[in-house]
């Protein structure tokens, strides 16, 4: 059997068709990928032996040899008989039968369509350059830049510019100062969320409360923080020295902010470097020739000896209030200062080892038994006789087995209580004293007890009034004399006299009356410095105040400066030796810092007077 195979091959991208005719001779012809096939289809999708062609009575029969099968018009078939004009396909190859000619039993036209236009290399050409897989750097640059501008500038700025004083907001008088009581300013505009990101550093602890309220200080754009903003809260700031006599310290043209730098964190914006003070104080005469201050270079090396405010005597002023005369005395251990407070108090006796006698047995006293910190913790609270001494030193008048409470610091009332006792005793009668008049010695029917008589003064007075004239005179005279005897003992020796000096003075009727001399305890020994007990609480009291060895109340128990210098040395040491640890720059009691400030100072004072007391105390 002979088969004429006509091969038509189309080239990709061209209309040219190459034509080749081959005569195949055999019983059957293999169709497949194998080179050994009579009809070779060189495509890897065609099976090795895909089909077999036979010629059967002029018809071409094609049988599939693989699962790939043959595509006929009716679909995929396993066998196809092709009469002239019939055609089947395998992959991209089309077979068409034609009537036999040129001595061949059959003719078959094999048309080969061009291979799929996929170059083998193209399949593996993934993206290999970053430019192909990443957005362009220029685009990213724009996106990032616009994001920064949008989030950090435009967003907060739209809010900020609407505020009073800003270009887009209502105009304000920037020289006007709004006084604020307390730290939180409720009139401030709401902070914009991203405005916080403008902060150039954390505020100090004392300003933390207004940390998010940028507008509290930053009022006008591109202007340094004006004093007005500071003064709205800090209107009471005073000068450092008298600017009339020392014009050098006038800071009229200096902003608060040039010394008090904020946004640096820390406890407060108060400058602690000692050079800020010693710049002037190391040679004070060059700054102010009239100054009487001593030069200071540092606390360690050159600092005036502490000048203590020592009480040198106590008088009474016109209203009867005690008034101390105070002398500032440089502390000299060889000639210790002598305090005349009007009080007799030996510390050593109270702190004696083994304790001292008290109504409740022996008690070992500590410093803190009497001395407690006052609220705030800086100074000790004032000694209060009833609270701090009265536990042992009981104010009582003890007679006839009864203890009568006596008031402290009320001499006339004490005299009245005692005199009442003697009158009551006289009215009860039966007094055995030899000096007593007969009316007092006489025994009476006990209708009313002595205690009741003392409590019901009116009844006593009535009973006295009912006596005969001579008896009454003698009775009152006797009670007065007895009272005076008791008063002499109480004021001179036993009770008041334990701690106070007391004297007898004639009153307007010429009768002698006991009077305790005024006494004042010093609370603030160093008025030009600020001492705070709180940070010193870990120390023993006696480390600074040598109370256990002080037997006289004239002793001044303030420590010498060297005791302070044990800890307060170089600034790098724990305690530090900054000037502002003890001293303030803005000295209380001076005038306001500047004329503008003076008005404010007054306004602040007026506002305080108007404000309810609770607010003012804050």
């Amino acid at each position: 059997m002979k088969l004429l195979l006509v091969t038509l091959r189309k080239r990709a991208g061209s209309d040219d068709v190459s034509r080749r005719e081959t005569i195949l001779d055999g019983a059957e012809f293999k169709v497949g990928r194998a080179v050994s096939s009579e009809i070779n289809l060189s495509d890897i999708d065609i099976d090795y032996h895909h089909a077999t062609v036979r010629i059967d009575g002029g018809q071409v029969r094609m049988s599939a040899e693989s699962e790939g099968g043959i595509s006929a018009q009716s679909g995929r078939v396993n066998e196809a008989n092709l009469s002239a004009g019939g055609s089947v396909a395998i992959g991209r190859y089309t077979f068409t039968a034609e009537p036999g000619r040129d001595g061949a039993d059959a003719v078959m036209v094999l048309e080969e369509a061009p291979a799929a236009p996929v170059a083998s290399g193209a399949k593996r050409k993934g993206k290999r350059d970053l430019e192909q897989v990443l957005p362009s750097r220029r685009l990213l640059g724009w996106v990032f830049s616009l994001a920064v501008i949008g989030i950090f500038v435009v967003w907060p700025m739209t809010d900020v510019l609407q505020r009073p004083g800003m270009p887009g907001g209502p105009a304000v008088n920037t020289s006007e100062i709004k006084l604020v009581d307390g730290m939180a300013r409720k009139d401030l505009p709401k902070p914009s969320p991203m405005e916080i990101a403008w902060s150039s550093g954390p505020l100090s602890d004392v300003h933390k409360l207004i940390e998010n309220d940028c507008a509290a200080c930053h009022v006008s754009p591109f202007e340094m923080t004006a004093d007005n903003a500071c003064l709205s809260c800090h209107a009471n700031t005073q000068n450092h020295a008298d600017v009339q006599t020392h014009p050098a310290v006038s800071l009229d043209n200096t902003r608060c902010g040039s010394c008090h730098k904020e946004h640096n964190g820390g406890a407060s914006p108060v400058e602690t470097a000692i050079t800020e003070c010693t710049n002037c104080h190391q040679d004070i005469k060059t700054v102010s020739a009239k100054s009487e201050l001593e030069n200071i270079t540092s606390f360690e090396t050159q600092h005036p000896i502490f000048q203590l405010a020592v009480i040198t005597g106590v008088e009474q002023d016109e209203s009867g209030e005690p008034m101390a005369s105070v002398s500032r005395t440089r502390f000299n251990p060889d000639q210790p200062p002598v305090e005349k407070s009007g009080l007799k108090f030996p510390h050593s006796k109270h702190l004696v080892e083994g304790g001292m006698k008290s109504p409740n047995g022996r008690v070992q006293l500590q410093c803190a038994s009497c001395h407690q910190l006052e609220a705030g913790g800086a100074l000790m609270r004032p000694i209060d006789m009833e609270r701090d001494c009265g536990g042992c030193h009981r104010m009582e008048f003890d007679a006839a087995g009864l203890k009568r409470p006596l008031p402290h610091a009320e001499e006339d009332e004490i005299a009245r209580v005692i005199e009442t006792y003697f009158l009551a005793a006289a009215m009860e009668g039966g007094v055995t004293s030899a000096a007593a008049p007969p009316a007092v010695k006489r025994k009476r029917k006990k209708r009313i007890t002595l205690e009741e008589l003392e409590q019901q003064q009116q009844q006593t007075q009535q009973a006295v009034a009912q006596l005969s004239d001579s008896d009454r005179g003698l009775t009152i005279e006797w009670a007065r004399k007895e009272t005076l005897v008791q008063m002499d003992a109480l004021f001179g020796v036993r009770l008041c006299g334990t701690c106070h000096e007391a004297q007898k003075f004639p009153d307007e009727k010429g009768e002698e009356r006991w009077k305790v001399l005024p006494a004042v305890l010093q609370r603030h020994w160093m008025p030009k410095a600020r001492f705070d007990h709180t940070p010193h609480l870990s120390m023993d009291c006696t480390g600074c105040h040598n109370a256990p060895e002080s037997a006289k109340s004239e002793d001044v128990l303030m420590p010498a400066m060297d005791v302070c210098r044990d800890c307060h040395v170089d600034a790098q040491q724990t305690a530090g030796a900054d000037c502002v640890s003890c001293h303030e720059y803005h000295v209380p009691g001076r005038e306001p810092m500047s004329p503008a400030h003076a008005e404010l100072y007054q306004a602040r004072a007026d506002a305080r007077q108007r404000a309810p007391k609770t607010v003012a105390q804050k």
């Binding site: 090795y48 399949k123 750097r137 830049s145 990101a197 403008w198 902060s199 923080t225 730098k261």
Partner: protein, 288 residues
């Protein structure tokens, strides 16, 4: 080595960078103003202004470098200035901060500057080592340079295409069992792809490597006549060659990406940095 790192060779800019850093450090140490060392003192403003000038100058150099084709010597000098001034920025800008950082636009500027400078250092590092590795990677893989007008990379691509042609033809002599493996190698062997496959350069999941394993398995498990066995030897050799060349090209793509990836940090963030600096300076004085 000389070729790639020639940009580090300018003595002038080296000493300029050192001098700037030392001067900045000395000013920072010896000037101890009340309120502490930070960006708002005289020295702080000085350090900040200097840093901002350097940033703007270097950014401008970066733009100019692309715009003009200058002579090699001049280019090298410009890159030298870029590198050493950029490194000096680490000192001047850090001192300008006074070591105060918080969540703010100011700290953002510093962080951007850090990223820009550090990515620049990254760039220097890759430029000093990678090009040599890259050329060794390619030249080691060249068996025979057939055309001298072709780069080594192009040569390897042609090699791969030739291997693919042979793989397709050889199947005419091989049973159908081998077709899936060859199909796999022809269709699925990928070089590059997404960002991560480029950057990893890994050939662990290479289709040709899998095809090779499959073919070896078939050879071990079947018996073939002499002619087919000879063809199979050729097939294995071709697959192995293709596997190696593909791995080499993946490494090449990876090196090429490493050589450039830092620019995606360096360039866009420089733009953001310049903008942030303008915002920083404006806002600092807006809320003076």
């Amino acid at each position: 080595m000389y070729v790639q790192t020639g940009f580090l060779e300018s003595r002038f800019w080296f000493w300029a960078g050192i001098l700037l850093s030392v001067a900045a450090l000395a000013a920072f140490i010896f000037y101890d103003p009340p309120g502490g060392r930070d960006g708002s003192t005289i020295v702080g403003y000085g350090l900040g202004g200097l840093s901002a000038l350097i940033v703007v100058y270097l950014a401008w150099l970066g733009v100019r470098k692309r715009r003009f084709s200058s002579s090699t010597g001049r280019r090298r000098n410009v890159v030298s200035a870029h590198v050493y001034l950029g490194l000096a920025l680490l000192v001047t800008a850090t001192l300008h901060t006074g070591f105060e950082f918080e969540w703010s636009v100011h700290t953002l500027g510093y962080v951007l500057l850090l990223i820009v400078v550090l990515s620049g250092i990254w760039g220097i590092t890759v430029y000093s080592g990678l090009p040599e590795k890259m050329s060794r990677n390619l030249s080691d893989m060249i068996v025979e340079k057939k055309r001298f007008d072709m780069s080594e990379l192009e040569q390897l691509e042609v090699d791969l295409e030739e291997v693919d042609g042979r793989l397709e033809r050889i199947l005419q002599f091989l049973p159908d069992d081998f077709r899936p493996a060859i199909r796999l190698s022809l269709d699925k062997t990928k070089i590059g792809g997404g960002l991560f496959s480029i950057l990893s350069g890994s050939s662990k999941r290479c289709a040709t490597a899998k095809a090779e394993t499959q073919v070896r398995g078939l050879i071990d498990s079947g018996s073939y006549d002499e002619d087919v066995r000879k063809r199979l030897t050729d097939l294995v050799a071709d697959l192995a060659r293709k596997r190696e060349v593909a791995a080499c090209l993946r490494r090449d793509a990876r090196y090429r990406a490493m050589l450039k990836i830092w620019l995606w940090f360096h360039v866009p963030l420089t733009a953001a940095l310049v903008v942030t600096l303008i915002a920083h300076v404006t806002l600092v004085f807006f809320y003076w």
